[in-house]
Symmetry: C2
Subunit: 332 residues, 2 copies
């Protein structure tokens, strides 16, 4: 089997190539295909003493974050993004792809080139965030669909549940609906209608959840539209950044706190490490015919490696087949 890695488009192409080599060294049963500037990949191969370990598809163009995703997918035929998507689509042995490039282009290209599964209203981009009890919680949708309908949210729950089953081994991952209060009647028009659908589903639906509990670890899948998912994730990121900055300000203002900081350095580094997105892979784009992982633009090699693990779990856990089957059952 093969995994396709779009090595361009992110902030650190060199790290992505190194992540591809790291993955190739770890997983002997899989062939890795790096798509991007061939000379660049070969240069790093020489440094890694790893000539021949990767297949390379040369691509002369890069899709940037600033351009229109639809235009880019339609016109930049020689970009690493478009060539990666075709390499995934056209090769029956290819089980998935990782890209750190433009999110919009991954979503548009995933839908246009790889194609939606039958019966899917809208594919969803999931995000995984580390929670308080040492696991990850996934947010579906995390930004692909800013204006959603209740039936879409229902499908996001089905997809998130199938994905988390493969990740955690739980037969019935728990699902909660992001809302402004836990009672059934709390929410806006969208979530109240989605609640009714989820309540009558076969999912392990635990009801509404407030944003305050998102990181508690009590839920495997949080369902929301992409607008609210984006706000949830970015508020969390922003709060973490602000608290660390305020802590630093308070430490720097006191001599004894500076001494304390030295003793606590390792604990603080562990905390930082725990919150580092690189340790959790990227966000799977689900509802299309193959596994596509959108990893963070600033990803390091470890993020690529962890995204490869996600692709393998999606493959081994037959997540895409499960989504197909479960969505068909729901639509009946």
């Amino acid at each position: 089997m093969r995994v396709i890695i779009d090595v361009m488009g992110g902030d650190r192409p060199e790290e992505i190539v190194r992540g591809a080599f790291l993955s190739a060294k770890k997983f002997g049963d899989t062939k890795f295909v790096a798509v991007g500037d061939k000379a660049f990949v070969y240069k790093i191969a020489a440094e890694e003493n790893a000539g021949g370990l990767l297949d390379v598809i040369d691509a002369s163009e890069v899709v940037s974050n600033d351009e229109s995703p639809t235009m880019a997918i339609k016109t930049k035929k020689d970009s690493s993004m478009v060539k990666s998507l075709y390499a995934l689509k056209d090769d029956d042995d290819a089980i998935g792809m990782v890209s750190t490039g433009s999110t919009g282009a991954v979503l548009t290209g995933g839908s246009l080139i790889i194609g939606r599964l039958p019966g899917i209203y809208r594919p969803t981009l999931l995000s995984q965030i580390p929670n308080e009890v040492g696991g990850v919680t996934c947010i579906a949708d995390s930004g692909a669909n800013v204006d959603a309908h209740p039936e879409w949210l229902y499908q996001f729950a089905v997809m998130g549940s199938a994905y988390m089953r493969a990740m955690t081994g739980k037969e019935k991952p728990s699902v909660a609906l992001l809302s402004v209060g836990t009672e059934e009647h709390k929410g806006n028009e969208l979530t109240r209608a989605a609640y009714a659908l989820l309540k009558n589903s076969n999912l392990n639906f635990l009801g509404n959840m407030e944003a305050r509990e998102a990181l508690s670890g009590d839920y495997d899948v949080l369902v929301c539209d992409g607008y609210d998912g984006n706000i949830l994730i970015k508020s969390t990121e922003g709060a973490a950044k602000t608290i660390m900055s305020l802590l630093k300000q308070n430490v720097m203002a006191s001599a004894s706190a500076k001494i304390g900081y030295l003793f606590m350095k390792k604990a603080l580094r562990n905390l930082k490490n725990y919150m580092d997105f690189n340790n959790y892979g990227g966000g799977p784009f689900l509802g299309i015919k193959k596994a596509v992982i959108k990893a963070h633009g600033a990803s390091k090699a470890s993020s690529v490696y962890n995204s490869v693990i996600q692709i393998r779990k999606i493959h081994d856990g037959k997540v895409i087949e499960a989504i197909s089957r479960e969505v068909a059952e729901v639509n009946e």
Copy 2:
């Protein structure tokens, strides 16, 4: 002038009464009216050696968080909430009211009993959150209107701006629209339409802002519907709670970190203090004819005192008059 304090309905009535006494001792130019169980207030007055410092209106009922706000406002005529609202409405000298009771009842009662200002589509509940640069940022709306229209968001911006002018002394507080990206075209249907209105307004509108920047201090007023405001605030709260809990876990796992913690104790306490809502007063409910502050259910005396300062600033800054005038100008 008079300020009305609903002393019941929150989690700590005794603290609210003490906050009323604290305010009465600080502000000799103002008469404070405590509304609630008379015997209970007198008991605390005796402990505080402050008999006669407060006016008291006896109220035998309490509106709880579990009951329907509309039913409670309509039927519990002898509740501290309803009696406070009438005390505010019927007394020309009363400049504002603080309640730590049910948010829904404060909003419903504020609209039904105090009444909307002419031309206001929907009153808005603001929240203030401490930001990274030592000030507060206000969120309008923070939960009163879960399904909003673009014109409502425009009015929330006008109201938030008038309020922050009085709080900060800035002639033109900066306003940003909460969205999923900074570019003008980013957002959902609601925010894209609101963007167009705000862009052509007289407000100091700086464009879209991502949730990650909410605490940066770059903006005085963040405009959003109550659903997204709620998610933003609760995500921030949840992230703060989780980070502190993870920090503790990491500290407890290491002997040297425990020593470090002792040296850093004061800095950590300062940080905790900085994030303590009691130091920032409550959330003003704007768009009605008088100043009503909804303070946190778990408020301590200091929160009541800080809410009184807000009421005085709203009064001195003629915020309600400004909202009336500016909304009329916009509607023309």
